[in-house]
Symmetry: C2
Subunit: 185 residues, 2 copies
Amino acid sequence: MTQRIAVPLPKAYLLLNHGPTVLVSSAHGGRRNVMAAAWSMALDFDPPKVAVVIDKTTLTRELVDASGEFVLSVPSRRQAAMTLAVGTKSGREIDKFAGLGAGGAAASVVGAPLIEDCLAWLECRVIAEPHIQQTYDLFLAEVVAAWADPAAFSEGRWHFPDAQQRSIHYLAGGSFFTTGDEFQV
Amino acid sequence: MTQRIAVPLPKAYLLLNHGPTVLVSSAHGGRRNVMAAAWSMALDFDPPKVAVVIDKTTLTRELVDASGEFVLSVPSRRQAAMTLAVGTKSGREIDKFAGLGAGGAAASVVGAPLIEDCLAWLECRVIAEPHIQQTYDLFLAEVVAAWADPAAFSEGRWHFPDAQQRSIHYLAGGSFFTTGDEFQV
């Protein structure tokens, strides 16, 4: 497992502010799963909240509905093939952890696993909003713990030490953008 | 005004899928405004929907609440200073169109303006969800028309012809990432 340091909760929004594609992991009753999501965003600073779309047809949805929890992990370019694979295959058909190289480590507050070797992690507890969950597949959640690989993020700043350690942004058809260079206005 | 071509509605999600920072423009009763938003995402494919956070304290919020419409424009790196400025100053204090170089052009369906020289535009009609608007400042909307500068996006693909014509991803404190290189898994 990558080294990880706690990210202060009021800084957690910075892990998502640039719009990376994330992995959504979940667990309930001895089952666990992971899927990819391009449709997630920060929703508030402090206490930090997030929004993410989780389709009704997915096993992730079943586990999130049952547990009221999930983890968002921010994968690196090195993990792009795994990200595409867990976003394409269903957890009803294969064990994505065993079959797709998505290692899971214990989180600190929630039961869902942190996906190993990612750049950052947000442990999330669902805010019950049944109408929008049902109508739009939209989940709002409070971030109850946040972590980062200090080589990638520390002191409120992303570092991206090398090209393979950058976050990624999914497009379609197996295409991604990497996060590009930082500049100051 | 930059040249623009219609983006078929089922492809509109591609304009936001990689998580760029957007400009939110609005108009009502002879007033108009524009602000920046890092917290937006696609919410559905077809009909396309989006989600965006619009703080209660903003003039944009007042105009969106009154009109039920807004436009999301995707700014380029060339427009980063303007993006930061319209995200920092309040439309209650200055006319951002006159003062900050944010030119507005007429949209096709909604009354809110398209921000000139951007890479792409989504004309949006708010889906009334008063509870989440009030509680989380979260707006859901249907995309009723979409446009792109064909030099930047056409046939369902981003091109990013040069470094200044890439989309941008806001972090904090005046720092942005540009959208990086595309790669295929």
